[in-house]
Symmetry: C2
Subunit: 412 residues, 2 copies
């Protein structure tokens, strides 16, 4: 839902004509600034901009480029200021997770230190939901909704196929935080329903304990569907599964490979002795606009809008936060707030222990109450004559370069 936030930024900025003389998009995050690779977003059709709400991923592109500390290398910073000055950029909105907020914070401090008047406001977005200072992050409600449906459906498959395929493992994203895996727990409305077991990185994972959990589940319901974070760690804090292509050894001495899903599938087949399937939805889970949460998309838009309003009001060096209001899921409401970019950049919000049960293998009602409001409603979708979604693609009208020089970044 990065695009929904971008849409909120662009449409809100257009409402402040006296303040904004133009709206530029940066190609691939901060890389676009460094390379002076900018798009004129006012030359996009209003239909395209509006369709960004219904378009997954990031229409402006993205990067994994981390700015060095100002003390370590000034070159990138000088270049950023050069490009800002050349295009008279006085507002900087940056959407992303804590690395992105780190970038926004550094850019903000740079402008202030250089006496260059510019507002820098961050907009949170990460499906991982691990940003500090905000109740939740845009992107999370949609991955929760989609994966909840996927594990529920995979559960029906196992329910129908249990005479041959008794188990299934769904590997979810989440290297450090278990928010995503935990969200799938909502799909279990009754003990019959999948997922029967949920594992997160915040709780040390033991293969022995897992085997016992699966056996108990098979005894109880005759089948077992597991949701597991890709980032599960053992009691030493080491990942239980390494990247596909390398090897790890489980506590039984088996050589295992691949991701968590494949590892757990192999453990079930070897140590429980029943057939197991595994599903790894990978990047499909973070772009599943076809079953995105309306609440999430609306809040992403709202966050983009709020960033512009705050900046127009003179706010800088802050990230928009989402604040939960109302008592319990039935009365859920959300308003925006602000937090220091530095606090977000330095923070990380893990799943509270109270959101998982004592055994550490499923969620509690506290988790359910937290996530359910974020999953409600279905986002708008345009569908073409071929039955498939229709997404926007920016025309990407290049802004004429003004600095008169190219720039080489030091990292790839």
């Amino acid at each position: 839902v990065i695009n929904a936030s971008a849409c909120g930024v662009i449409q809100e900025a257009a409402r402040h004509e006296g303040v904004f003389t133009g709206i530029l998009g940066s190609h691939n995050g901060i890389l676009g600034v460094l390379h002076e690779d900018l798009f004129d977003l006012t030359r996009e059709s209003s239909r395209t901009i509006d369709d960004l709400r219904r378009t997954p991923a990031s229409a402006l592109g993205s990067c994994r480029y981390k700015l060095k500390d100002l003390d370590a290398d000034r070159a990138d910073y000088e270049r950023i200021l050069e490009v800002f000055r050349a295009h008279d950029i006085r507002f900087f909105f940056y959407i992303g997770g804590n690395d992105s907020m780190d970038t926004a914070d550094k850019v903000s401090k740079l402008a202030a230190d250089s006496g260059y008047a510019m507002a820098a406001v961050g907009v949170p977005k990460t499906i991982d939901n691990d940003l500090a200072e905000t109740d939740h992050c845009p992107g999370y409600g949609s991955v929760a909704k989609y994966l909840g449906a996927a594990v529920m459906e995979a559960g029906r498959d196992t329910e129908a196929m249990y005479t041959t395929d008794s188990c299934a493992v769904l590997e979810t994203m989440g290297r450090h935080a278990g928010w995503i895996a935990a969200a799938t727990g909502v799909a279990q409305r009754t003990p019959e329903d999948a997922p029967h077991l949920v594992y997160v990185p915040e709780i040390a994972f033991s293969i022995e304990g897992f085997v016992a959990d699966v056996k108990a589940c098979l005894d109880r319901v005759g089948r077992c569907v597991v949701a597991a974070s890709e980032g599960l760690v053992n009691d030493q804090g080491a990942y239980i599964a390494t990247e596909a292509g390398s090897f790890s050894t489980d506590s039984f001495g088996h050589t295992q490979m691949g991701g968590v899903g494949e590892l757990l599938k192999n453990v079930v087949e070897a140590d429980v002795g029943v057939k197991c399937r595994y599903n790894k939805l990978g990047t499909c889970q973070r772009t599943a606009m076809h079953f995105a949460s309306r609440t999430d998309v609306d809040e992403a838009y709202l966050a983009g809008q709020a960033a512009v309003r705050a900046a127009v009001d003179g706010v800088t060096d802050k990230m928009v936060t989402l604040l939960r209001e109302g008592d319990g899921p039935a009365n859920y409401a959300c308003r925006t707030g602000l937090a220091d970019l530095r606090a977000v950049a330095n923070g990380e919000k893990l799943l509270p222990r109270s959101f998982m049960n004592e055994a550490g293998n499923h969620i509690t009602d506290a988790m359910r109450d937290y996530v359910v409001p974020l999953m409600r409603g279905q986002a708008d979708l345009r569908v073409g004559e071929d039955g498939l979604p229709v997404f926007a693609r920016l025309a990407r009208r290049a802004v004429k370069q003004k600095t008169g020089r190219s720039y080489s970044i030091t990292q790839p």
Copy 2:
């Protein structure tokens, strides 16, 4: 969409009150007959029966049990007749792929040979779309629609992330036939769109050719999203990827493991030298009711209805087929026909060579015209307060056993 066909059978049978004195469901396919494990479907609420249209997988369960030839072992057959006679079962509707049609055919012949008056009619269902005698199979349109959306969305992810993650591979189901992988090709509306490459089992796969294809694609569009059947074979007819957990060696002598998706990811990283992701939607692809094709669900229902009408008219030993009418996708219409169960059981329909381009790495307009009509419309979905789908589960009221004995099958 097995459940949609079951719904069609049940609701149509209820309309012929003079003919049907009851409607029984068999738990886990033919196993339910052998174990005399039958449900009284007239005791289900009409709401539950109607919700079967919106429920993935098989509410009655399924099996992979294949009846032996009558000459080889009569025990199963005698038991089936015993159960049929005990419950006065005079109509037998069996939903599934060619193994299921083999079962239906054997049961039909058994009844005829034994002078037991019973109609046996098959209803096609396989996401693999590989049944002979029918233009297409219920189940296929929905997997095509869902995977088309998934690869389109994964394509947007790669488009946004190409500065770090330039490639992605989506592994689809399809051990022998490439129908499912080929369907994803529809998502490529313009050369920018994913999938950029599509591989099917009908065309011998070469790692060298694949590496060249990926390099050319990276040169052309700067990123590459691949859809590949799990059942890809080399020019010797051997699977290029073996089951997860075992090993195979590619033509470059690398040791590879896991499924096709993981193998191709490793090839891209090793031989093209860029980062690659892989997605394996596994059982989620065949149960994705949250984005199922309305056309497919409606046709599945129609096929169930047609089976009952045919049986009432005295037809036996046939499978309902779907016949395409109209000239081209714009005028698509579908009616039902009938084919001999034996012809379906013995047949297999692979993807025609003309549905793939000359290079064997993407689909042609002929494939697009074939599959697009099957993907149109979105199936009804009930959604709960938690934002997730609501599916039916049968109450499964057991029918009192009448044979007075239990039965042990010889296979697991």
